[in-house]
C-alpha cells in the first residue's frame, strides 16, 4: 500500500526566502503524525504543499502514490484539509454545503452519507439553517463533516483545536480516533501538545524550514516536546 504522503527533498521559496528547505518524510497509510515547530518554521507551508495548494520550488509531493502535478484531481480526491477557516458558504445551509461538497468530490450515495455525518456530528437540528446563523462550535462540526464526506486517505489539519471549547475538542478527538481506526492517515499541526501526543504516534519537528526531528511519541512526551520547542524558538529568535 503506497504511503499516504511522501515529501521528497521538498523546497518551497517565496520570492527568495525559503519557507521549506529540503524536507523529506513519508507518512504511511493509516499513520497519525504530529507536526510541530516554532512559529514561522514552515508548518503551514508544508501542509499547503501537501494539500497541493502550493507548487514546490524543488522536490516532489506524492499523495497515496499519486503525483499532484499530473494527476491533480485524483490526488485531491484522496485528501482533505481542515484549517482555520471552515470553507463553508455562509449563505447556504449546513446540509446544502455538504451536498455541494459531496457533488464536487463525487461521493457515491451522497444523500445517505450526508445524513450519516449530520447525525454522527450532532448537527441534525441545525442542518437546515444557513451557516451564517450557526455558532463557531457548530460551524467547526460542519467543517469536520465536510472533511470526512469523501473518506480521504490523508487528513491534513492545521491548528484544528483553536477556538474550540472542551466539548468540541472532545468531539474532534473522538472523530479523529475513528478516522484513524478506519485507516485514514493524519498529519496534524497543533500547539496543543497534550491532545496531539494522545492522538499521534509520531512527530516531525520543523525549525527554520528544515526538518530537525522525526521520531515516535506517546502520551507522556508532551512536556519533553514542549521543552524542545521552547529551545528551538529561543534559538530561532536569537
Amino acid at each position: 500500500m503506497p504511503a499516504a504522503l511522501e515529501v521528497d527533498h521538498l523546497t518551497k521559496r517565496f520570492g527568495r526566502t525559503p519557507a521549506l528547505d529540503n524536507v523529506s518524510a513519508a507518512i504511511d497509510a493509516g499513520a497519525a503524525v504530529l507536526l510541530l515547530g516554532p512559529n514561522g518554521a514552515g508548518k503551514t507551508t508544508l501542509l499547503r504543499c501537501a494539500a497541493t495548494l502550493l507548487k514546490p520550488s524543488r522536490g516532489r509531493v506524492r499523495i497515496a502514490g499519486l503525483d499532484p502535478v499530473t494527476d491533480g484531481a485524483a490526488a485531491r480526491r484522496r485528501l482533505a484539509v481542515l484549517g482555520h477557516e471552515s470553507f463553508l458558504y455562509a449563505d447556504l445551509t449546513a446540509a446544502e454545503n455538504l451536498a455541494f461538497y459531496a457533488r464536487l468530490y463525487r461521493v457515491t450515495d451522497a444523500v445517505a452519507r450526508v445524513e450519516t455525518l449530520l447525525d454522527r456530528l450532532g448537527l441534525r437540528g441545525w442542518a437546515h439553517r444557513p451557516v451564517r446563523t450557526l455558532s463557531r462550535g457548530l460551524v467547526q462540526r460542519c467543517a469536520v463533516a465536510r472533511v470526512l464526506l469523501h473518506d480521504p486517505s490523508l487528513l491534513l489539519l492545521d491548528e484544528p483545536f483553536t477556538g474550540l471549547d472542551a466539548d468540541a475538542r472532545a468531539l474532534l478527538c473522538s472523530v479523529l480516533r475513528e478516522a484513524h481506526a478506519h485507516g485514514t492517515a493524519v498529519l496534524m499541526s497543533t500547539h496543543e501538545l497534550a491532545l496531539g501526543t494522545a492522538l499521534c504516534q509520531r512527530a516531525l519537528i520543523l525549525a527554520g524550514g528544515r526538518l530537525v526531528w522525526d521520531g515516535p511519541v506517546g502520551p507522556g512526551d508532551a512536556d519533553r516536546l514542549d521543552g524542545e520547542l521552547r529551545r528551538l524558538s529561543g534559538r530561532v529568535a536569537a
Binding site: A51, V81, Y89, D91, F100, L104, R146
Partner: protein, 219 residues
C-alpha cells in the same frame, strides 16, 4: 462545473447581492448620464447607445468582483481549489454565473433605458438583444478572469477596470457601433461584421480564461 454554477446561483437567489449591485449601479449610471444630455436635443438620441454600454460596462466592472469576493469568506476559494475540480471548470462556472446575473440585470435595465431615452420599446429590445448577449458573454469572460487576477494584487478591485477596459476596447467599440446601427433601423446583416468581431472576442477570451485560470490560482 455545473455543481459550482448551481451553488453560485442558489446563493445569488437567496441573497441577490450581485444582482442588486449590477442593477443599481447600472441604473445610477443611466441617470447620471441622462443629466449630461438636454432631453430635447437630438444629441441625446445619438448618444443613447453609448450611454447604455457605459452603464453596462461600469456596472459590470464593479459588480463582477462580487462573485469572486464571495469565495473569500471562510476561504471558500481554497475549499474549491482543494476539491478534485479542474481549475478551468471553476472559471467557466464563475463566468456563466456572472453572465446570467448580468443578463438578468439587463432585463430590467434595458427597458428603463428605453423609457429614459424615449425609444420604441419592443422594437429596441428585439434589435439589441443579440448584441447585448454577445457583449455580455465576452465581458463576463474577460472580466471574471481579470477579477481573479486583480484580487491577487495589493490594489484588489481597483485593478480590474485598469486591466479590462483597454483589452475590452474591441468589445466596447463593436457593442456601441452595432447598437447604434441597429437602433437606427438597420437589420442584422448590416452589422454582421461587428457581431463577428464580438463573437471572435468572446471565443478568444473564453479560451484564454479557461487556460490561464490555473496560473492565476496557483502560488
Amino acid at each position: 462545473m455545473f455543481a459550482i454554477l448551481w451553488k453560485d446561483l442558489r446563493i445569488e437567489l437567496r441573497t441577490k447581492e450581485t444582482f442588486a449591485a449590477f442593477l443599481l449601479l447600472g441604473l445610477l449610471t443611466l441617470v447620471v448620464l441622462s443629466f449630461a444630455f438636454d432631453p430635447t436635443s437630438a444629441l441625446r438620441e445619438a448618444a443613447a447607445p453609448g450611454v447604455l454600454w457605459v452603464a453596462v460596462i461600469f456596472a459590470g466592472t464593479l459588480g463582477m468582483n462580487r462573485s469572486l469576493l464571495r469565495e473569500r469568506e471562510a476561504d471558500c476559494l481554497q475549499g474549491l481549489l482543494l476539491a478534485p475540480v479542474d481549475r478551468g471548470s471553476i472559471y467557466l462556472a464563475k463566468t456563466a454565473g456572472n453572465l446570467l446575473v448580468m443578463a438578468a440585470a439587463q432585463v430590467v435595465l434595458v427597458p428603463i433605458f428605453v423609457f429614459f431615452f424615449n425609444l420604441p420599446l419592443w422594437l429596441t429590445i428585439a434589435r439589441l438583444t443579440p448584441v447585448i448577449l454577445l457583449g455580455l458573454l465576452g465581458f463576463a469572460a474577460i472580466g471574471t478572469m481579470f477579477a481573479a487576477v486583480s484580487l491577487r494584487t495589493r490594489a484588489r478591485e481597483v485593478m480590474l477596470p485598469l486591466l479590462v477596459l483597454p483589452l475590452a476596447a474591441p468589445l466596447i467599440i463593436a457593442g456601441i457601433q452595432a447598437s447604434a446601427a441597429l437602433m437606427a433601423g438597420n437589420d442584422l446583416s448590416a452589422v454582421a461584421h461587428w457581431l463577428n468581431l464580438l463573437a471572435a472576442f468572446d471565443a478568444v477570451f473564453l479560451v484564454v480564461g479557461w487556460l490561464a485560470f490555473e496560473y492565476v490560482m496557483e502560488e
